[in-house]
């Protein structure tokens, strides 16, 4: 497939708003692709380059892209940035630059989809002190051969922000439709493989290939997530339920085969190097080959430390030994996904728990199973008394559903209303905060689009503002007066008193008394609150308000 054909497909999708129409467009392309093209097409169309389980990074920042685009168009990087500021979109800016590019070339090579992908692998593998220069040349070659429309999508893929509104759900349906397989089967294979590209390739082979997939050690799968709910509802619905402490730490996935072990974060980044102590503890806890799910907490003087101290260790690349001394990291293992070559995610929790207890001798998080609300409530009180966040309650008969925020796992914690929101803009601060950003525009998501929801200006310490400034300054897309727009990359947890209907923000809601709680650098932009869940909260809030009035 030529990259031009891929680009035309993206353009059609971008101009289509109906989800079913989008699925049809994608499904129509898939059968014609070769086994080599299929995974690339599927990942690219979702704006991804590498498999979701892979921690491989392209390592191309906006500045490198601007410089390459400038070189190809025959203008300075500053002019490229001006263009991006005026269009507000990198893809569109590159497209316009290429359409009026003044620099003639001697040859033109048509870009091929697979060739673009192999070039991106080469770029990702460039290392060392000359790698930025080599990456620049490689990007120049790609852009130099790109037609304007190709430039639009190539630029966005290079920055891993395609944003044509194609979500994993649509691709799943399209794969099912194109190859005549059940979409539940596609979903299941995706949960185990965590690479929709490979799933599409298997779907082309046939339903048996999808059915036979196994989890691969060192290909992390997504974490199963929890909803909010109540103890009473869970017991009413399921009878006996399993309760575990909800630890205020960082989620991890531990993979071990023989003596080789890796640890992955909630975002599936390899954090092995930052937590050698946790690796050692877990290696000592089992002789089996396993994939475990758990939460690592920081303990100082016998007490759990706040979440921030765990995160600091997750981020740490240097002086790990020194940090190890100060705070003890303790893993709490609560699930097992794979054991000695066997994928366990389809087994009921009770059976997984039995196997977990059989093969892991230490660090297994205690679990209480009961149908008695008083016992579960007591567990909740115990959790809070011990300094934990609350409890998780789980349906004993439920499978492990990677990436799903379903009704099988429920979190119970004291009512604090917070939302995880993406930082999309800011205003420069004033007075002593004049050199950092002072007020932030935060957004939720709606089908892959970011929708502004509120401004947050309080709750920050000066250190936090400085830290946030450092993290954001490289991502500025556009500046006008005091206002800046960011390439979305950071997630804030924002507390609020009340959700209000409002026409001030595009989402139709505003937050009353918004305040910054903490930086969620364990979360991705794709993890932020959806407009749908905010509508739900608003409805719940309205219901409980009525309850008080009556």
């Amino acid at each position: 497939m030529l990259f031009m054909d891929f680009s035309r497909c993206c353009e059609r999708l971008e101009g289509t708003s109906g989800r079913l129409d989008m699925i049809d467009i994608i499904a129509a392309e898939l059968p014609g692709l070769t086994g080599e093209e299929l995974p690339v097409f599927v990942r690219f169309i979702m704006g991804r380059i590498f498999a979701d389980w892979s921690s491989r990074k392209l390592g191309i920042g906006p500045n490198l892209l601007y410089e390459a685009a400038g070189a190809v168009a025959g203008i300075s990087k500053e002019k490229v940035i001006e263009k991006i500021n005026s269009t507000g979109d990198v893809g569109q800016a590159v497209e316009e630059l290429l359409s009026v590019k003044s620099q003639m070339t001697f040859f033109h090579e048509e870009l091929d989809l697979v060739h673009v992908y192999t070039s991106l692998i080469e770029i990702a593998e460039m290392e060392g002190k000359k790698s930025q220069r080599e990456k620049l040349l490689a990007v120049r070659r790609l852009l130099g051969n790109a037609h304007p429309l190709e430039g639009r999508y190539l630029a966005r893929i290079l920055l891993e922000e395609l944003r044509i509104g194609v979500g994993e759900g649509s691709v799943r349906e399209a794969v099912a439709k194109a190859f005549g397989v059940d979409s539940a089967l596609v979903e299941h294979a995706q949960q185990a493989l965590n690479d929709m590209g490979e799933v599409a390739r298997l779907a082309k082979v046939g339903p048996d290939a999808l059915r036979d997939v196994q989890i691969t050690p060192f290909h992390p799968v997504r974490m199963m997530l929890a909803q909010q709910g109540s103890i009473a509802d869970m017991i009413a619905e399921h009878g006996e339920i399993a309760a575990e402490f909800k630890y205020d730490g960082s989620r991890f996935q531990f993979h071990k085969k023989g003596n080789w072990a890796r640890l992955y974060s909630r975002r599936l980044e390899d954090v092995t190097g930052a937590l050698p102590d946790v690796i050692r503890q877990l290696l000592d806890a089992t002789d089996h080959d396993v994939i475990l799910d758990g939460e690592v907490i920081a303990i100082k003087d016998g007490k759990p430390m706040p979440f921030q101290s765990v995160l600091r260790r997750f981020r740490r690349r240097h002086d790990v030994a020194e940090a190890q001394e100060a705070i003890a990291m303790v893993p709490n293992v609560f699930d097992i996904l794979w054991l000695d070559g066997e994928t366990l995610i389809d087994l009921p929790l009770s059976e997984r728990r039995r196997r977990l207890e059989a093969v892991v001798t230490q660090y297994v998080a205690p679990q209480v199973t009961s149908g008695d609300p008083a016992i579960i409530t007591q567990t909740y009180e115990d959790a809070l008394a011990a300094g934990h966040e609350g409890i998780m309650i789980k349906v004993p008969a439920s499978p492990y559903s990677p990436g799903q925020r379903g009704k099988n796992w429920i979190k119970i914690k004291p009512e604090v209303d917070t939302l995880d929101l993406a930082v999309i803009g800011a205003e420069w601060g004033e007075g002593k905060r004049a050199h950092v950003f002072g007020s932030f525009l935060v957004a939720c998501q709606d089908a892959g689009r970011l929708v502004p929801l509120s401004r947050v200006a309080t709750g920050f310490s000066d250190e936090q503002l400085a830290e946030v400034y450092e993290l954001l300054k490289e991502t500025v897309l556009k500046t006008s007066g005091k206002e800046v727009t960011f390439e979305p990359s950071l997630v804030f947890e924002v507390g609020y008193a009340e959700l209000q209907a409002s026409s001030n923000y595009e989402g139709g809601f505003a937050l009353r008394f918004p305040r910054f709680i903490r930086l969620r650098d364990d979360k991705d932009i794709s993890d932020i609150e959806t407009i749908g869940s905010i509508r739900e909260r608003y409805k719940r809030q309205a219901n409980s308000a009525q309850a008080y009035q009556h």
């Binding site: 003044s102 620099q103 003639m104 070339t105 001697f106 040859f107 000359k130 120049r140 130099g144």
Partner: protein, 247 residues
């Protein structure tokens, strides 16, 4: 097979001419000498270079191709002093080349020639205007323009019999007219094309060492620079695609 010795300065001159455009190249060797032809990553500039066997102190080679990491070679010359000889030696189909200079013996791993872009065919173009100018004069004019702008127009005014360079910056402007007296020769024909100084700056540095540079120009056409290296025993041609602005 290659077994040759060459004055370090002469070889450096040749490698510098290549490195102005590309970081790696495919070198052809045969009875008569070595040559390369390459286009830069962005397909904007081309180089053709040949070094005759007369440029070497001793030279023996069979027909072959070598993948050379030009940046690495440049670093090796850092070891050479004035008047040093460099000796190059490579067996048939070898993956490595021995390079000896100033008592240092390197064994350099060659690049796989399959990974280097295939030799470009130079386009056939008719460039009616021709200027012969001192390399140093040309380089000085390019350097002066680079202060003002990132692009420069090269042209011939047939009426005044001048070769001119004009650069337009955001706020500033520079123009240099070379009268016929200041040039070695001029073949007048209406010509004017715009080029990126990004490329010309690097080429200019190399050309500054040439006694004479032939410049071939047309209207909105590529420019060709042609000049000798290695005391006349080598030759370089640069071809640079123009910038064409819509306005």
């Amino acid at each position: 097979m290659l077994k040759a010795t060459i004055d370090a300065d002469i070889f450096k001159e040749a490698i510098d001419a290549i490195s102005a455009l590309i970081p790696e190249c495919r070198l052809h060797t045969d009875d008569d000498g070595i040559s390369t032809r390459a286009v830069d990553t962005a397909n904007v500039a081309m180089i053709g270079l040949s070094l005759k066997k007369e440029a070497f102190d001793s030279y023996k080679a069979s027909k072959s191709q070598l993948g050379i990491d030009i940046s690495k070679m440049k670093n090796i010359f850092g070891m050479a002093g004035k008047g040093d000889l460099i000796s190059l030696e490579m067996a048939d189909n070898a993956q490595k080349m021995s390079v000896s200079v100033h008592g240092y013996n390197y064994s350099i791993t060659l690049l796989d020639t399959n990974t280097i872009r295939k030799d470009p065919n130079p386009p056939t173009i008719n460039l009616p205007g021709k200027i012969v100018i001192k390399g140093e004069d040309l380089n000085n004019a390019l350097k002066a323009a680079a202060v003002i702008s990132d692009k420069i127009a090269l042209g011939i005014n047939p009426k005044d019999q001048t070769f001119y360079l004009v650069a337009e910056g955001d706020t500033d402007h520079i123009r240099r007219d070379f009268s016929k007296d200041e040039l070695v020769s001029l073949t007048p024909a209406e010509a004017r094309s715009l080029f990126s100084l990004d490329y010309l700056k690097d080429m200019g540095k190399v050309m500054s060492k040439a006694a004479e540079v032939e410049i071939f120009l047309g209207i909105d056409h590529p420019v060709r620079f042609s000049f000798d290296i290695a005391g006349g025993n080598g030759h370089v041609e640069y071809l640079l695609a123009p910038r064409i602005e819509a306005d």
